[in-house]
Symmetry: C2
Subunit: 339 residues, 2 copies
DNA sequence: GACTGGCACTCGAAATCCAGGAGTGCCAAC
DNA sequence: GTTGGCACTCCTGGATTTCGAGTGCCAGTC
C-alpha cells in the first residue's frame, strides 16, 4: 500500500512542516526536496497518504499537514535519533559537573534540557523508593518539637517535623538517633518500613508512644508518594508555539502548575536509554492533545531512578529533541552513578 | 491644580479601566459612577488630568487610560488597601497550617498567593543570614566524599558535597562533627563565619588542610548569595493578560526563568507590613515596563526574613491585590514565628 | 501502468472599502 | 464653573474583492 516513495513523501512533509509550520503543498515539496518526480505524482501520493490517515488538510485547497498518526510513523520508521555534536556533549557534561548537591543537579538539568531542546523541560526528582538510607538525624528544635532528617544514597534530603505532647529528654534523642542509624543505614527504603516496625519494642514502655510516633513519621517520609516532586523550566519557550494562545499555551501553562499532571505526563520511569514519545492525543491528559511528550528514565544502568523529558508542540523536531533528551539523561545518570 | 473632583474622576477612570480593560470615555464614566456632573464637565477635567500626565489616550477620539503616574497617584492617595473577608482569612491560615516543612510552607504560600490574587506569585526562600545554626551534620558518603548538612533555626536545610584528595578516617569525621556543633550551634549565621575561622587550629597539623576545606565549604553555604532562591507559581494567570502576547506575556515568562531577575524585582526585604508597589517603568527590569510588582517582606515582627509578592499587568486591581499580599505575608510570618 | 502537463475550481488570507459610533474639543449659553 | 450642542476624528467591525497557492482530474506520453 505504501511504497518507499510515499514514505519519502511523508518524511518530506513532516520535515517541511516542522521547519515552516505551514501546510505544505506538492509544488513547494518537490522544489525543496529532490524527490525526482513531478508535483502531480506527489499529489497522487498525498491523496493516498491522506486516505491512510497520515496527513490531512486544514481546509480544501490548502497544503497538507501530518496527523498524529503521521508523526507516529515518522518517529517509528522514518527517522533516526540525532546524536549531538562533540561540542554540545562537552557543554552538557561541564555544565552538569558544576552542581553542588542533588537539588542543584535537578535544577541544572531542567535548565539545560530546556535550553538545548528549546522546549518546556520537566525533571522528576529521584524517587526515594529505590535508593537506600545513608543517615538519619534527629535534632531537638524545642523540647516538644523534633526535626527528623533523612539522607539517602542519592544525596536527597527529606525532613519532617514531629510535634510531641510532652518534653523529650536529650538522652532519649541520642538513643533514638543511634538506634535508628544502626538499624536503618544501608537499608533500601523499600525495606525500611518493615525493619522499622520492631524498633519501638527495644525501648522502655514509657517512651514507646513517642518512638512509635517517630517511626510513623519516618515511614511516611519513606513511602510518601505525594512527595514525588518535579522541576520545570523553559516556560518561556512556549512563546514559540505559534499564535493560537488560548488553545496551545494556556493548557500547557496550567498543566505545569500541577505536579500530579506532570508526573502522569512523564509516565512510568522507563529503563534508561529507552525513549518514550507520546504524540498529541496519545497523551494521558486530554487538554494537551496538541502537544507531544518526549521522556526517558534516568538513574543507574539497570534501573531508572526517575524520569525526565520535555513537552512541546506536536510539530517539533523529533530527531533532534529525542537526541537531546537521551543525551541529557545519559549524562545525569552518569553523574549520579559516580556519587 | 487638582481639586477633589478631578481626583474623583481619576479614581473612577482607574477603577473602570481595571474592570473593563478598555479606554473609558466621559459618557460611560458618568453613567457608571454617579459623579453628579455632566459628561462635558468630566471632559474638561480629563483634559486637565491629561495635561498633568495622569491619563492618556491611545489615539485621538478614544477614551482615556491611566498612565503609570496615574496609577501611582491612585495607590498613594486615592485608594485604601482592601482587607480580606473572614472566610478568606480562615482559608489562608488553614491552608498554610497543613505544611510539613519549610519547603512546603514556601510552596503552599506561592500557590495560595497565585490563587487569591490571580496573578503570578513569587516567594523568596527565607535567607540564611538572619537565622541561626540549629545543627551541623557530617556524613561519609564514600571515603573521599563527605556530605555536609546544615540545619537552621527556620527549618531550612542546606547541603554541600565535599570531595577530598585522600581518604578520611571515620574518627576524624566524628571529631569534626562534635567540634562544629559545639562551636556553631546557636550562632547566628552572620557571625558563624568569624567563629569558624579558628576551628582548624584546634586540629593536628596533618588534618588541617581537610578541616579548612570543610570550613571553607561551610562558610560558602552560610554566605552564598547565589543560593538565594525563589519559588514561582500561577504562570497560567498570564493568560488573562490580554492578547498582546509578544509584548506582555513573553517578557514575564522569560523573567520568571531567571532567579536573579526575580530577586531584583522583589527588591530588598522591607520591614514586614510595609508594601512595596512598583508600577510599570518603576521596575528595575526594563523589559517589564508594562507590569507592576506588589511585594512585602515577611518574617519576624521586627525584621524581614525574605520577600514575597506578585507581578501582574499595570492595570491590576491594586486595593485587592495589596490586601491579599499583605494578608498572606502576615500569616506566613505568624507561622514561621511559631516554629 | 505509472508518470506528467494542463486546466478548471476551491477557498482562505490579505487588501480594500464603507458605514457606525464612541469619543473628543470647542464654543456659546446659562 | 458648568452644560448642551455640534462638527470632527478615527477606530472597529462587517462586507466585498482580489489574489494565489493548492487541489483533483483527465488526457497524453513513455
Amino acid at each position: 500500500m505504501l511504497d518507499d516513495r510515499k514514505l519519502d513523501v511523508l518524511r518530506a512533509i513532516v520535515e517541511d512542516y516542522v521547519a515552516t509550520h505551514e501546510p505544505v503543498g506538492s509544488k513547494t515539496l518537490v522544489d525543496r526536496h529532490n524527490l525526482g518526480v513531478s508535483p502531480a505524482t506527489v499529489r497522487n501520493d498525498m491523496a493516498a497518504l491522506e486516505d491512510e490517515g497520515y496527513i490531512t488538510q486544514p481546509h480544501t485547497s490548502a497544503g497538507r499537514i501530518p496527523t498524529d498518526a503521521g508523526y507516529r510513523l515518522f518517529v517509528d520508521r522514518l527517522s533516526t535519533v540525532k546524536t549531538l555534536s562533540a561540542a554540545e556533549k562537552k557543554a552538557i557534561s561541564s555544565f552538569l559537573a558544576g552542581a553542588v548537591d542533588l537539588d542543584d543537579v535537578v535544577r541544572r538539568t531542567v535548565r539545560l534540557l530546556a535550553q538545548i531542546t528549546r522546549q518546556v523541560a520537566i525533571v522528576q526528582y529521584p524517587t526515594l523508593a529505590r535508593s537506600s538510607v545513608r543517615h538519619v538525624e534527629v535534632v531537638t528544635m524545642t523540647p516538644r518539637r523534633l526535626l527528623l532528617v533523612l539522607i539517602t544514597s542519592t544525596g536527597r534530603v527529606e525532613q519532617r517535623i514531629l510535634e510531641t505532647t510532652e518534653d523529650v529528654a536529650e538522652q532519649l534523642v541520642g538513643d533514638l538517633r543511634s538506634r535508628l542509624n544502626t538499624t536503618l543505614t544501608g537499608q533500601r527504603l523499600a525495606d525500611a518500613t518493615t525493619v522499622l516496625a520492631g524498633v519501638p519494642d527495644a525501648f522502655p514502655p514509657a517512651d514507646r508512644s513517642l518512638v512509635s510516633a517517630m517511626v510513623t513519621t519516618l515511614i511516611e517520609a519513606f513511602t510518601d508518594e505525594g512527595e514525588q516532586r518535579v522541576a520545570v523550566g523553559g516556560a518561556a519557550n512556549l512563546t514559540r508555539y505559534g499564535d493560537d494562545f488560548e488553545r496551545n499555551v494556556k493548557p500547557v501553562l496550567e498543566a505545569l502548575e500541577e505536579q500530579v499532571i506532570l508526573l502522569k505526563l512523564l509516565g512510568e520511569a522507563t529503563y534508561p536509554q529507552t525513549l518514550t514519545v507520546r504524540i498529541g492525543h496519545e497523551n494521558p491528559y486530554e487538554e494537551l492533545a496538541t502537544t507531544s511528550v518526549v521522556a526517558t528514565g534516568y538513574g543507574s544502568k539497570s534501573e531508572a531512578l526517575a524520569t525526565l523529558g520535555i513537552v512541546g508542540p506536536t510539530h517539533m523536531d523529533y530527531p533532534s529533541t529525542m537526541g537531546a533528551v537521551r543525551a541529557v539523561a545519559r549524562y545525569v545518570s552518569q553523574l549520579l552513578a559516580d556519587s
